[in-house]
Symmetry: C2
């Protein structure tokens, strides 16, 4: 089944990349854009049909590799 | 209102970063994981309350800055 993991910086963690994008958007003439934060998304396929098992496996992947849980949050979406 | 833009590589575009992650996951003992692709996510706030106007503004941001539409797709999610 297919899964999507979205990793975002926790609130309060500085995001210079997001700030740079915000500055660039303003420079391009887009007004009223604020609070730009950049994160990562991982699309992956896991074998098996048990959604709960897949979710717990992906959670472990996030804790071990995909996210730095000191500064990042992650969200897991699973579609059959 | 808040918006999330998800930028992913188009099918067929090589993703060495995703392949490296897939290899690392296998090395960590996660079996049955395939097709790992990495993308980007942007969270931003736009002023105004007109969802359609916001969507069209963000679409323009994607075309001009956030995504490289030659090799990347983008999806826009807006929440009030």
């Amino acid at each position: 089944m297919k899964a999507r993991v979205i990793v975002t910086l926790k609130n309060g963690v500085l995001d210079p990349q997001g700030q740079a994008i915000e500055g660039s958007l303003a420079g391009l003439g887009f007004a009223g854009v604020a609070g730009v934060r950049q994160g990562k998304v991982f699309d992956l396929e896991v074998s098996g049909t048990d959604e709960e098992a897949a979710r717990s496996q992906i959670k472990e992947m996030c804790e071990k590799l995909l996210a730095n849980t000191v500064i990042e949050n992650y969200a897991i979406e699973i579609s059959p």
